[in-house]
């Protein structure tokens, strides 16, 4: 099955629960099979699958709960905490996988998913736009803000840990 392990990993990050992630992946494949006739050969298969998974999550109870805290259109609103981060502080955190995982968990869902699609899945901005259903300009601004928020979380964690 193509993308199976990657979809599962992405689903775990969205749901923060392995059992819910399994249900989400299963439902994604069922929907993909049912809707396969609507899949156009000239479109991006990976973006199509991730989009199904994400939309399924957003309409689930956990997804509704996650998106209730922050509107997906809130790119203009400041979402990251104030920080005094410096490049050096990022370097201090770079080797700490656990710190990065905690920072990812702490990110709002719409920031977390875009960081995962870009940094982990290595999707192009165009693919991310197709997956999330947003224009490329929004991809760039949301990604920039998501990374800033993550740096701030890491810097706060490093400062907190060193105190």
């Amino acid at each position: 099955m193509p993308l199976f392990a990657r979809l599962y990993n992405f689903a775990c990050w969205l749901t923060e629960d392995r059992a819910a992630a399994e249900d989400l992946v299963q439902e994604t494949y069922v929907k993909a099979l049912k809707g396969f006739s609507s899949f156009r050969q000239d479109t991006n298969f990976r973006a199509w699958m991730y989009r199904i998974l994400r939309n399924t999550f957003l309409t689930s109870q956990a997804g509704l709960k996650a998106s209730a805290f922050v509107s997906l259109d809130s790119d203009e609103a400041p979402a990251e905490p104030a920080t005094t981060e410096t490049p050096e502080s990022f370097l201090l955190a770079r080797g700490d996988q656990e710190a990065i995982q905690k920072a990812l968990e702490a990110l709002p869902m719409h920031f977390r998913e875009i960081v995962l699609l870009c940094d982990l899945e290595e999707m192009s901005y165009q693919e991310i736009g197709a997956t999330l259903g947003i224009p490329i300009g929004t991809v760039m601004s949301r990604l920039s803000r998501a990374r800033r928020a993550m740096r701030a979380l890491l810097a706060a964690g490093v400062q907190g840990g060193s105190q």
């Binding site: 099955m1 193509p2 199976f4 392990a5 599962y8 990993n9 775990c12 990050w13 392995r18 992630a21 399994e22 992946v25 299963q26 494949y29 069922v30 993909a32 099979l33 396969f36 050969q41 298969f45 490049p87 050096e88 990022f90 370097l91 955190a93 770079r94 080797g95 996988q97 656990e98 990065i100 995982q101 990812l104 960081v115 995962l116 870009c118 940094d119 982990l120 290595e122 192009s124 901005y125 760039m140 990604l143 920039s144 990374r147 993550m150 740096r151």
Partner: protein, 252 residues
């Protein structure tokens, strides 16, 4: 441009989403600005670290089996459908190409054979001695070919028609012996070529085919193992009328 503005571009640069010109501009700035260079390096390391840290969850083999079996129960794997559809499209394309090449080759072979026979017809009509046996009598012309050809053919009775037999001669076409008969119709000369029907030698085609070849009317057909071709500068209807007479004689 200030460092703040350059830093807005660092993410796109790191994600390889800049144009070559934009990337060149950023690289120029990074070479001259240690602060931005350190920021770019930190962002790259962060991206790399995020990639490693985010690959955190691995599905269990049981879950994979469960999904596979539930999908196979009801559906053919759809990623296989993509491949099958792709393969089917390739097969159809190859088939179309093969048929096109075959038709083109066949068409090309027919065109070449007709062109060679047309040359023989033109050379005959231009010759001072167009035929070897000069006679308007079919009972003189037909026996003349006895012993010269490995086949026999019938000539039509022309008393009640406008056609007149002028004679005939033995020809060799693509190393095969054949008969060339010359007819007259209102000052137009018509050549009738008769060969044994051999694929690759005689002009290919099915049924009675009337065409135009460089302004000449041409009709070809096969009958009783023989391949016939009529050439003339007369109209297609006249060529077809002579063809009808020859076909009727061939069936006798």
């Amino acid at each position: 441009m200030s460092c703040d503005l350059w830093r807005d571009w660092l993410d796109a640069y790191m994600d390889e989403s800049c144009t070559p010109e934009e990337a060149a501009g950023i690289e120029d700035h990074l070479r001259s600005c240690p602060s931005c260079a350190a920021d770019a390096l930190a962002r790259m390391q962060m991206k790399r670290a995020t990639r490693a840290a985010a690959a955190r969850y691995v599905p269990s083999p049981e879950f994979r089996l469960r999904i596979e079996s539930s999908i196979q129960k009801t559906h053919k794997p759809f990623w296989k459908i993509v491949w099958v559809q792709g393969l089917a499209a390739c097969a159809v394309a190859l088939l179309l190409i093969a048929v096109s090449v075959s038709l083109w080759t066949r068409h090309s072979s027919r065109e070449q054979a007709l062109a060679e026979l047309l040359d023989l017809h033109v050379a005959t009509t231009a010759s001072a001695n167009p035929v070897d046996v000069i006679s308007t009598d079919r009972h003189t012309v037909k026996p003349w070919f006895q012993g010269k050809l490995p086949f026999a053919f019938n000539l039509p009775e022309l008393d009640n028609s406008s056609f007149k037999l002028l004679g005939g001669k033995l020809i060799y076409y693509r190393h095969s012996p054949g008969a060339q008969l010359l007819f007259d119709l209102r000052k137009h000369e018509l050549s009738v070529f008769i060969f044994e029907d051999q694929p690759g030698v005689t002009p290919p085609g099915a049924g009675v085919a009337t065409t135009r070849e460089k302004g000449f009317s041409v009709e070809t057909w096969s009958e009783a193992g023989l391949r016939y071709a009529v050439f003339s500068d007369a109209g297609p209807a006249d060529v077809h009328a002579l063809g009808d007479l020859l076909r009727a004689a061939g069936r006798q």
